[in-house]
Amino acid sequence: MPKAFDAANPPFDRLTPHEAETLRAALDIVYFRPDEPVIDQGSPSQALFVVIKGTIEERDGTDLLALLGPKDSFDSRALLHGKSGHAFVARDEALCYSAPRHTVLDLIQNNPRFAAFFYGDIARKLDEFVRDQDEQRHGSVMRARISELFLHPAAFVDADDTVETAGRKMQEINSNALFVRDGHRTGIITGMNLSKAVVLRRQSIQASVRDLAHFDLVTLRPDDLVSSALVLMTKLNKRRIAIRDDERLVGILEDIDVLGFLAGSAQVIAGRIERAASQDDLAAAARQTAAQVRTLRRQGIDVELIGEIVSDLNQRLLSRLFDLVAPADIRTGGCLMVMGSEGRGEQTARTDQDNGLILSGAVEEVTLNAFRTAFSGALSNFGFPPCPGNVMVSNPAWSKPLSDYVADIRRWLTLPDDTAHLNVAILFDARCVAGNAALLTEAKTTLIEMARGEQAFLAHFARAIDLFTTPIGLFRNLITSGGNGDAIDLKKGGLFPIVHGVRSLALEHGLMETATDKRISRLRDMGVFHAEFARELHQALNFILMLRLDGQLAESAGATGTLVRPSSLSSMERDLLRDAFYVVKRFREFIRHHFNLGVF
């Protein structure tokens, strides 16, 4: 009776403790020799297998579809429909749990959430997944270690030092708390202690800090859990905890940082941006913004929401920088816009500079050039890498008067050259972040009016969705090009077709929204999509975005940041990815039909 079976592994985490016990009691362990078939293609299975050790190949004929590793379970189709879609073969020596068919079927019957994994349509599965993540959120935060949090530096004053010395030291290290050494005991003193002493008790600033410090230090170690810190703070009513590594004090943990970690500190950063008086202040805020993505994501927050929060912060940042850098005539007569994924509010771990400027009239060349260099230079300093396609304010092609843009738009539509479609896509996704938004609205209105009814242009525009195949086969299998080290390109295979297809439809229907999900909703309201399909598309988009973000955060995604190795996904994620790609495939068919791409 294998007690080691991990019931927290999806989908078994949906079982009640009692059900999990029933399952455990029924489990067996089976051993497979290398190349031994576990389930033959097209045959039923009397058990649900969960890999303990080794690797199982999922094969379709001679094609290797996936490698299943520890904790992956298979094969629901063989179990439920009595016919496995694929063959399962042990790659090397493998150990598996086997759960008898009737036991699993009983569980499925009695536990709808468990059953949903095996039946259920795509959209519902995706929803289930999101809900699971919500449930895990607090868990994952609470399991974090103190070392992952921001700590104030450990700085020391002597108990004999004066209030003034301590105050200066705090100022110097930009912290609000210091350790106080008094013989072999150590205490802590805060800025609040100092000001209370001087202001309320009218003590001299030359007084020693000995009587002001608290020597009842609460200490924890860097690898203690964040939850312990929170418990201690609440129980002892302390706002600070000393962090001690062996005998050495390494820092001070403040309650505000714990809270910031739990809730994200978007508000704090927003405030910092608003108050920033110099580019240096903004640079600090920019770094914190970048760090937010990771913090928010590890709390299990939905990518869409992260996208909203972070692009709001970036918008404030750019807007503030614009105020600081731009001379008055550019500030009042210009519209600063962001484009690309930033314009669509689509979250990535690393945000390129994708921005441009529309001017209401001509601005003196010298002033304009100075602004172009200063603005893009400042963003580079903030850590935004330059746009590879050079779509930046520093590029005169993307910072010029409205009339020039309108002339461009006319040329793009009537005499499209090699870059016309790309430029249309860029401008159509643009969003105003500072200055006179009416300028961008006018440019986009021109674009929409010019494109209205232009079947040929729209078809040539939409045709880009055909450049890459979606890595999914006829039988909903993920297509990797064989072998172990293969990866699937999320952008080419899934993200780009959705984003560009939706963009083409949005352009045809003259939508002003820039976010892909908002465009999908509008298109649904206009009756272009069935409500059901709109939901599936939206969820597929979100799921792929989430995988991409996770890949980028884990820095495992290769140079483009969009590669995902099927073997690095859980089998549930693989299932969802399969479903998402299947939606993409149907969507491409839709676009091909709508824009008559069949003739190309």
């Binding site: 009537t414 040539h460 880009a464 009756g527 039909h593 008559n596």
Partner: protein
């Protein structure tokens, strides 16, 4: 051998379609298809089984008169160049229904345009099915009806699963293979005669039962009216073929459209010269070789020409065997088969698009169709067209395929072409005029086809000489009816709609000549 070559052809096509998807960067498709590529693709779309099998078959049976088809089809291309290509691309529309409804009333015009397209597509499909059916029958010894069902089934599978991918590349590959194969065949024929066409023609007149008459006009079409009628159909039909008109949509601009027609004309002209040589080659090499003849018929008629196994449509296929042996026979059959499949898929695409878009979305649903339903309808329409093609293919078994294509052209020339050309060039065209005139043209063409000797007597089996209309091809009178009635009714039209139609012309004209201006004359 045949299967091997078919797989090879399909594999090459698959590779080509893959090539288009491994582009280095997003959006690099922006420029559209180049004029040269599109020229080849148009040629590929146009050089159907009818041209290859049918014309060589007609030359085989009738000699010089077979050329009237080649010439007529070739002359159609300048018409396309000067009247249609650039204007269509400038208007930026997908089908001629879209063009015609630029300034005319959408709903009514679309119904008519869809009918015109569908009837044209149907006749064109018949020709392809007959060609393919005969080919498969000959190669595999199947019954004709089984062969037709097989081909129809394959076509439906091909179109529904991925046949619509990278159509341009499919056509390009096909055109190249066909040009190569035909060049080789014609070269081999001439080689046998020491590269002397005179020797070839001398030998042909010697072995052909009609003797010297095959070098003179009149053996196929004796009646001058028939000749003019056929010529008109072939010349003006091209400009009304829905699947050809779609080809101008894929290039970057009007200039590229015009250039691509220029290239296509070159390829097609060259190809027809080859078919002529192939036809005469077949007279000399096939009709004299007992291996290619049906002993029973030979016994009865004493003519090698009539006794050819599989009928006159198979002349080119037998010739491939005669000059290149089994290997080349396999190659040419595979190319012919792939050609048919590709043309058929292009036709099915055009037909299905006109059913799902023009009839279902615009008319049945009043422009508010859900796109996903439209996709479904288009798939159903493909299946429907497939079944229709199979049934008609079986009915029209013994027709020469080039002749059948001539009928398709007659219909295109009598309905689609008048509507298209008048809507582009004549200010006073009104919705009512286009609708009624187009309908009369369509109806008279269809009735003319059915009551003609070829269909009434040969296919429907009525007594010889009982056909009510003596013309084999109705284009002469049906085109006249279409143009005259469109003109007359438009001139007499005093409705409010007519004023709107006429007012929209100037905007449309500027747009069609320059590509500048709004995409619709009735922008709201």
């Amino acid at each position: 051998m045949f299967m091997g070559f078919v797989s090879l052809t399909l594999a090459i096509t698959y590779w080509a379609s893959k090539r288009t998807v491994s582009a280095a960067d997003f959006y690099s498709a922006g420029g559209g298809i180049s004029a040269g590529q599109n020229g080849l693709a148009i040629a590929g779309d146009y050089m159907s089984a009818a041209s290859f099998l049918g014309i060589s078959g007609l030359v085989y049976t009738s000699g010089y008169d077979g050329l009237i088809y080649s010439v007529g089809w070739l002359v159609g291309w300048p018409v396309v160049t000067f009247l249609i290509a650039e204007q269509l691309r400038n208007l930026g529309k997908f089908t001629f229904a879209d063009v015609a409804s630029f300034r005319l009333g959408q709903t009514r015009i679309r119904i008519l345009a869809a009918c015109g397209s569908l009837v044209t597509v149907a006749f064109y499909l018949i020709a392809q099915m007959v060609g393919a059916g005969k080919l498969i029958q000959l190669l595999f010894g199947l019954d004709y009806w089984m062969a037709v069902i097989l081909v129809g089934g394959l076509m439906m599978i091909y179109v529904t699963f991925g046949g619509m991918k990278a159509t341009t590349w499919v056509q390009i590959i096909k055109a190249v293979l066909l040009l190569f194969g035909a060049t080789f065949m014609a070269g081999a024929v001439l080689y046998k005669f020491g590269f002397s066409p005179e020797a070839l023609f001398a030998k042909a007149t010697e072995v052909h039962p009609k003797k010297l008459a095959i070098m003179e006009p009149g053996s196929l079409i004796s009646n001058p009216l028939s000749a003019i009628s056929l010529g008109l159909a072939l010349m003006f039909g091209t400009a009304g073929l829905p699947h050809i008109l779609m080809r101008f949509f894929t290039v970057k601009d009007a200039q590229a459209a015009r250039k691509s027609v220029f290239y296509a004309t070159g390829f097609i002209g060259y190809f027809y010269i080859l078919t002529f040589i192939i036809g005469f080659g077949a007279i000399t090499l096939v009709s004299t070789d007992l291996a290619f003849l049906d002993a029973g018929i030979l016994e009865k008629t004493k003519s090698g020409i009539a006794a050819i196994r599989g009928g006159s449509n198979m002349a080119a296929i037998h010739l491939a065997d005669a000059v290149g042996g089994n290997l080349f026979l396999g190659f040419i059959s595979a190319v012919a088969f792939a050609t048919i499949l590709a043309v058929v898929s292009g036709l099915a695409l055009a037909g299905a698009s006109s059913i799902s878009h023009d009839i279902y979305a615009m008319v049945v649903k009043g422009g508010h169709a859900n796109e996903q339903d439209e996709v479904r309808v288009s798939k159903i329409a493909t299946l429907f067209l497939g079944v229709l093609a199979i049934v008609l293919g079986i009915i029209f078994e013994n027709q020469n395929v080039a002749f059948m294509v001539g009928l398709a052209f007659a219909i295109a020339a009598s309905c689609n072409f008048p509507m298209l050309v008048m809507s582009i060039f004549w200010k006073n065209l009104t919705t009512r005029g286009a609708l009624i005139g187009g309908l009369l043209g369509l109806a008279s063409a269809v009735v003319g086809v059915i009551l003609s000797p070829a269909v009434w007597e040969v296919t429907l089996g009525f007594a010889k000489g009982s056909a009510p209309i003596k013309l084999d091809n109705p284009a002469l009178f049906s085109m006249a009816i279409a143009f005259v009635s469109i003109w007359l009714i438009s001139v007499l039209d005093r409705s409010a709609r007519a004023d709107t139609d006429r007012d929209g012309f100037d905007a449309q004209f500027v747009r069609s000549q320059t590509g500048i201006g709004a995409a619709s004359a009735t922008s709201h």
